[in-house]
């Protein structure tokens, strides 16, 4: 019931539920992104990519009662798409926001973004689309919040860690690491082995640590 089969979204396009034709959101999106209106999208309002879609909850939906909640739950149960819920948070619907947030984010594990009106919704959708397009083009480096895996030398960190052992400063840490190589071997060194590198007291301290 969610969608008739899987939806294939052409690159850089947004598929819009027929019911939004002529609405303020659709009008504002027109010209900024390429829209395709389609019937039979079921619960979904906008498809941004093959795996991301938007469900738009209006102020009226919020005030009208729990119908929209049933819609969200049905969507969540029936679809493996990443669902982004955009909700109109106005002075009137504000009071419901916390409850909706709890349901959508904490219970259903979906994304919830508040907007003040349809105009803001269209601006937000434009930004979301641009990120979806970038994701599809594998241009992940452009997202400032995605961690870039760059190999880092472990040497300075290992040295830092060894200095946390009581009685060991930078000089002794270097001596110890040159002798034993790794933290693992240092941990398994005997007292007499340690005494060859550092004094008796410190060797005892390291050994008991």
């Amino acid at each position: 019931p969610v969608t008739a089969g899987s939806i294939v979204v052409p690159y850089g396009h947004v598929i819009v539920n027929e019911k939004w034709r002529g609405s303020e959101v659709a009008q504002r999106l027109q010209g900024k992104v390429r829209l395709i209106f389609e019937d039979g999208l079921g619960l979904v309002d906008f498809h941004l990519s093959n795996r991301t879609c938007i469900l738009l909850i209006s102020e009226a939906d919020l005030v009208a009662g729990d119908e929209f909640k049933r819609r969200l739950v049905r969507f969540r149960n029936a679809s493996s798409l990443r669902g982004i819920v955009i909700v109109e948070k106005t002075q009137i619907s504000e009071q419901y926001y916390l409850g909706v947030q709890k349901l959508v984010v904490l219970e259903l594990g979906m994304v919830l973004l508040p907007v003040a009106n349809q105009g803001e919704a269209s601006q937000l959708i434009i930004q979301l689309v641009s990120f979806c397009v970038r994701e599809q083009s594998k241009d992940r480096g452009s997202n400032p919040f995605l961690r870039k895996q760059r190999p880092q030398l472990a040497e300075p960190a290992v040295l830092q860690s060894v200095q946390q052992i009581p009685g060991v400063g930078k000089t002794k840490a270097l001596l110890l690491l040159q002798q034993f190589g790794s933290i693992h071997r240092l941990c398994n060194a005997s007292i007499s082995e340690l005494e060859e590198v550092v004094g008796q007291t410190v060797a005892q301290q390291i050994y008991t640590f």
Binding site: I84, V105, Q127, F131, P144, A154, S161, G181, S182, F209
Partner: protein
């Protein structure tokens, strides 16, 4: 019906920037709040979830972009899950509620967060933030990820905790778990990857990282800057 084991770690900075959050968590929600030097994050509500409290104005200003992205990238290094609570800025007395001008930049930041898989919650004040933190802690508790070890090691254990904390990409929670699950540092160093994962409650790839770090062969030549000559 609140379990006493529900525990949240708060960063020391939050005493200044979010005092109401902490006192609400303690007084209203009866959570155990342990303030410690988390460093990387504002709150830890479970073994794997870090919560970052951000003001709406911080997300609005492009000047913050670098700082924010560095911060969140560092978080991704040490936590499985990240949640951001976007809190509305406080309205000073006498000031009529400021009109929030939504910018394209702000929408872009939200989109980037969504795409990075970071969870976003919105809060209108510090009390609401506290309530959200409690909900998150409860949820994580239900999923069996709650922090359930003593959070205040003393004496010798304190030294050992500091040692674990110096390991790159190891969160405060994982360090606490290591302290608690293993008798000594040597026991940790000699553990297999699955044993490390179970003891620290880290995922396998992260436990592997830790394992590799402990067995890393030190090479003096690879230290970045030459050491200052002695006797200077």
């Amino acid at each position: 019906e609140q379990r006493p084991s529900l525990c949240v770690l708060a960063d020391t900075r939050e005493i200044c920037s979010g005092p109401e959050v902490i006192s609400c968590l303690r007084a209203q929600h009866r959570l155990r709040v342990q303030v410690c030097a988390l460093g990387t994050t504002d709150y830890m509500v479970s073994n794997r979830l870090a919560v970052e409290r951000l003001l709406q104005s911080e997300l609005q200003s492009p000047g913050n972009r670098n700082k924010l992205s560095q911060r969140l990238q560092r978080l991704q290094g040490s936590f499985e899950r990240i949640c951001v609570i976007v809190e509305a800025d406080r309205v000073r007395p006498g000031e009529t509620s400021r009109f929030f001008q939504r910018t394209q930049y702000y929408d872009g930041v939200l989109s980037a967060l969504v795409q990075a898989g970071i969870r976003i919650l919105f809060s209108s004040c510090q009390e609401e933030t506290a309530a959200l933190l409690k909900e998150l802690a409860l949820l994580e508790h239900r999923k069996g990820a709650a922090i359930q070890v003593p959070t205040e090691p003393e004496g010798h254990r304190r030294d050992i905790l500091n040692f674990y904390l110096s390991i790159p990409n190891l969160s405060y929670g994982a360090a606490l778990n290591l302290c608690h699950s293993f008798g000594s540092v040597a026991a940790v160093a000699n553990s297999s990857v699955p044993a490390l994962a179970a003891g620290s409650r880290l995922s396998l790839p992260r436990a592997e990282q830790l394992h590799r770090f402990l067995r890393h062969d030190f090479d003096l030549q690879l230290l970045p800057q030459p050491l200052p000559a002695k006797g200077k």
